[in-house]
Every structure is written in C-alpha cells, then in structure tokens.
C-alpha cells in the first residue's frame, strides 16, 4: 500500500505523476500535494495516473477538490494516463463529464 507522487514544475504547468494505490489511507498525502498545485493561478495542472492501479471514491473526491481549486484559480486540471479500470470508475460516477481526461499518453517534456 504505497503512493508515490513526483511533481515537475514548468513555466506554465505543473505535472504530478502519481503511482500506487489511492485509498483512504494514502489520500491525505495526495491531497496535500495536489491541492496547492491546483491553487496556483498561473499554472495549469496535469495529473498523470499511469502508475495508479487502484482508486476508490476517496481518491475521486480529491480530484473533485482539485478541479474546484483550479477553476477558482482560473486555470485548468487535466488527468492523463488512466488505465481501463480507473477510467471506468470515472465513467460510472459521471466524473468524466466534468473533469478533463486526456487519453493520450503523456507528452515528453
């Protein structure tokens, strides 16, 4: 049960690469890292979930929070690299209709 988050900062965007399992135990760490990034006014936030093999409603809630924060900051939030299981969860909950999900592979910076 581990969660690893690597953050890369660019001029106009932040990229957070998340890997591991996102549940009620690891969620606090994800929230602590993601929220300040989403609140940055001049940078859009890209969250790469390529390495995430488990997520449940606690994790989905964090992305809802990040989406709210980024809209408030006037920037955008994009999720990328979702595997089939993770994507399905966004579809079941309807979150794919409100959060920008990029199915293409993450572009190399």
């Amino acid at each position: 049960m581990n969660l690893d988050i690597q953050v890369s900062d660019y001029e106009n965007k932040s990229v957070a690469e998340v890997s591991g399992e996102v549940d009620v135990y690891t969620a606090a760490k994800l929230k602590e890292t993601i929220t300040p990034l989403a609140e940055q006014e001049d940078k859009r936030l890209i969250i790469d979930l390529s390495g995430v093999d488990y997520i449940d409603s606690t994790g989905l809630g964090i992305f809802i929070g990040a989406l709210k924060a980024s809209e408030k900051a006037g920037t955008s939030l994009t999720l990328t690299g979702l595997n089939a299981r993770v994507k399905r969860l966004f579809e079941i909950t309807g979150l794919h209709e409100v959060i920008d999900i990029d199915q293409a592979k993450r572009e190399e910076a």
């Binding site: 049960m1 549940d23 009620v24 409603s57 709210k68 969860l89 909950t93 309807g94």
Partner: protein, 164 residues
C-alpha cells in the same frame, strides 16, 4: 438453497491503514473462488468503500475501541460481504440522501468531495442491503459467473474428498 460452506471473519481497527488489509484479503478470497479480474476489482472497491465509511463516520475521533467487523460468507453461487460497526444507530435515510452519479449540469463549485462511496457499492455489487441497529451493517453480494469458474476450485463438500 445453496448451502454455506465457509465463513471468514475479521475484526480490525477502524483506521485508514487497515482498509487496504481488508481489501487485500477479499481479493485473495475472491481470486480463490474463481471470480474474474474485473469482478475482483469491483469487490475490492465495494468493500473498501464500506470500510472507508466506517473509518470516516462511525466513531468519534480517537475512539480506542473503534473497530470494524468484516465477514465473507462463501456460498456456492455467490460471495456475501458484510461490513459492520458498533458506532451507534444512524439515520439510513440521511445516509441515502444525495446519492448518485455526477452530471455535467452540476456547477463545479457545487460538486461534493464525498458521497460517491455508497453509489459505487450499489453499482459494483449485485445486491446491497444496509441495516442499522447499534451501528451500520452493510451486506453486499456478488454472484459468481458460472462460466468463469475455475474448475480446480473445490468449494463443496458434497463429494467425499479422496485421500491418497
């Protein structure tokens, strides 16, 4: 009526770090019974959601005796998962309120960070029952798809086991 052949019970502290332990356990049980990869993933999420509800809502913070009772009842045709707490009676109506998926008509600022758990449980499992007595008990059933049963899994005691 299919007879129950096995019952697995766990009592674990109602703390975030134990939700993963329960999830791994149910994964092992469901895998042994021959559930498909997707069904196992559904079951893992459902039980984690039920446990997360206990961890987040059932007990006052720092309650030393806070625990969750988890059981897996294995039937011939289904797996029945029960997650129960002793956190006191709750209003099930209240629990059910506002449950459902997100729609694109909702303004982003109105979206709630919580509340998707029960919706997910109901979507991912075949039958769900919520009871409230001296706590909340959630009973979740997933049926075993016959054609996906691994033939080497022997769960019934109808035929006497041959010993070499």
């Amino acid at each position: 009526m299919a007879h129950q052949s096995e019952l697995i019970e766990m009592k674990v502290p109602a703390r975030p770090e134990y939700v993963g332990v329960v999830r791994l356990t149910v994964s092992g049980v469901a895998n042994r019974l021959g559930y498909s990869y997707d069904d196992i993933e559904d079951i893992k999420i459902a039980i984690a959601e039920a446990c997360t509800n206990v961890v987040n809502h059932a007990y006052p913070e720092q309650s030393v005796h806070a625990s969750m009772h988890v059981s897996f009842a294995i039937f011939e045709d289904r797996l029945e998962l029960v997650v129960a707490d002793k956190g006191g009676a709750v209003d099930i109506e209240e629990l059910n309120r506002g449950r459902g998926p997100i729609t694109k008509d909702q303004p982003v600022e109105d979206l709630k960070e919580g509340g998707l758990g029960l919706f997910l449980i109901e979507t991912l499992m075949d039958e769900v029952e919520i009871r409230s007595e001296d706590g909340v008990m959630i009973v979740m059933t997933k049926f075993l798809q016959r054609d996906e049963v691994d033939s080497n899994v022997d769960r019934t005691s109808e035929e006497p086991t041959k010993h070499q």
